[in-house]
Symmetry: C2
Subunit: 298 residues, 2 copies
DNA sequence: CCGTTGATATCATTATTTATGATATGAACT
DNA sequence: AGTTCATATCATAAATAATGATATCAACGG
């Protein structure tokens, strides 16, 4: 039994006539007759009494009519409910730390854009405080930040979990030695600087010397050239491991992993583009967190 | 949007994979892909995020899934509910007065039998009291009687409404004269005798003389031969008006019309054959009572 | 008695829709 | 680079639905 059968059945039941129903449906009479007969034989019951003035529902038919009404009603309601949700079109302003922008966003944005080609994406990089302010000021729809954010007007979705490693120039294998080197950071507010500061405090008595490099690429270049050491997501190094001349030290502290979360305003109107983006990142995260490919149901 | 689309959609949503869903449905993967894509384009929304491990519902898709579950559930429930109602097969014992049996039952039984060829119909004629007793004794499933029946164990459905007329031999046009004639009746308990008795009491002072003829055809023959007068449903006379040599007098009393009702036991199990028959006569009555062929809805 | 009307049923044919099979594409993992 | 495991595409085959012509059947009217 199919909903198209029920649609036809309903009209026949209401019109009390196959001919009338066919006219109403824009079908030929024989087709409607055949559909009704097929429905009856499929269900193994008589749905109509045939008489020379048309068709009249049997009690079985009346039962089916009540189901048919509910089913067709739900189908229409569903169509209504879904056609209301329009495909997202328009700008979507996302903020991000530089590291996240270079590690995670290219892939994420590529697949998101493939799904929603009408969305005009733009990424603004900056330090955590700047990004939070822009989100609060409605300059950004949302931002990826690596601090835990507890602002009352913001809500956050944990997104990425990156292993952080200390990197040093090739040949610098002595962890004690490298702690004396300057530390290359993006800016004076970045989370990597804070973590390094904390770590150095625990490890050594000396106050670390920071050099602000401005971009991730500049930091990597500086490390390779032996200017200093730095703290970076492991994945950034692994990506082009072969072409890089760096040594990796595992960071043996509690801040070994860095969680990045996506923040949005708690109150504001959620645009269709942002809504789609939120959906999308939630979906991607579920996939990435899923333990393995579930093999089941033979 | 069709229920078959929803059935496929549901499996894909649950399996999280078109390939798996196709396997489960016994379809080829490309078909499922096409159906889902068509559904999406028909609704104008994206129902799934595609990723390299399969498909994941969007929030729009989740909404549709909840509708799909309800719709498919109702379809299954309907199938269940209807397949339980078996086609009636077996004997159906009906009682009837002779007049009703000859006027109404041939047509009624013909069309009923056409609808339910598995039902083995049988008619028992008799007077009202005998029929009532047989129904109460479970010897008959039901009976057409022309008395108002108020027995506590019986319920009744009004069925036919027949105009009664007094008939006399051709040439007997004087109403005063014919009241002196004997009255031909089926039996001493029949309703026609009672009505005539009442009418004669109002009309004349003389006590009427009744002759029991046993069958309707015998009465008609007796009237034609000038043996006496009788009271019969007008339709019986009209049926073969041309071939009969009788005169019709309208009965000018309150019993002008005779109502026939179908009685059944109130309590007993209603067999599928009886249930179908009840349904059927209710339907036929609605048709006959309907004022005209309803013309509507352009 | 016979033809007309107004309904459903049947059936061969056509049109449309659905399913298939082969192949392309694409991302992740090795 | 190659393998694996997904979805997407496309020409074609198979199944299903719609059509048009015709049959049937009961009621009605002349």
């Amino acid at each position: 039994m199919d909903s198209s059968d029920l649609r036809i059945f309903r009209i026949v039941a209401r019109e009390g006539s196959i001919t009338q129903a066919a006219a109403r449906l824009g079908f030929v009479q024989s087709n409607v007759t055949a559909r009704i007969k097929r429905l009856e034989s499929e269900l193994g019951t008589t749905l109509f009494f045939r008489h020379n003035r048309g068709m009249k529902l049997t009690s079985t038919g009346k039962i089916l009519l009540s189901y048919a009404d509910r089913i067709v009603g739900l189908l229409e309601e569903a169509t209504q409910a879904l056609s209301a949700t329009l495909e997202p079109i328009g700008p979507l302003m996302i903020g991000s730390s530089q590291t996240i922008a270079s590690i995670h966003l290219p892939k994420l944005f590529t697949s998101f854009y493939k799904q929603y080609p009408g969305v005009i994406l733009s990424v603004t990089t900056g330090d955590t405080q700047t990004l939070i302010k822009k989100v609060l000021d409605y300059d950004l729809d949302g931002a990826f930040i690596s601090h835990l954010c507890v602002h009352p007007d913001l809500q956050s979705i944990p997104c990425f979990n990156d292993e952080l490693v200390i990197v040093a120039a090739e040949g610098n294998f002595d962890i004690e030695e490298i702690t004396t080197r300057p530390i290359l950071v993006l800016d004076m507010n970045c989370i990597y600087k804070e973590i390094m500061e904390q770590w150095m405090r625990d490890k050594t008595q000396t106050r670390p010397h920071f050099i602000v490099m401005g971009t991730v690429e500049a930091i990597i270049g500086g490390v390779e050239a032996g200017l200093g050491i730095s703290l970076l997501p492991k994945i950034i190094i692994k990506k082009n491991e072969n072409s890089r001349k760096m040594h990796i030290f595992a960071l043996d502290s509690l801040n070994y992993n860095l969680t990045t979360e996506f923040i949005i305003r708690r109150d504001s109107f959620v645009s269709s583009t942002l809504s789609a983006f939120l959906d999308y990142i939630k979906c991607v995260l579920e996939i990435d967190n899923s333990p393995a490919i579930p093999k089941n149901q033979g």
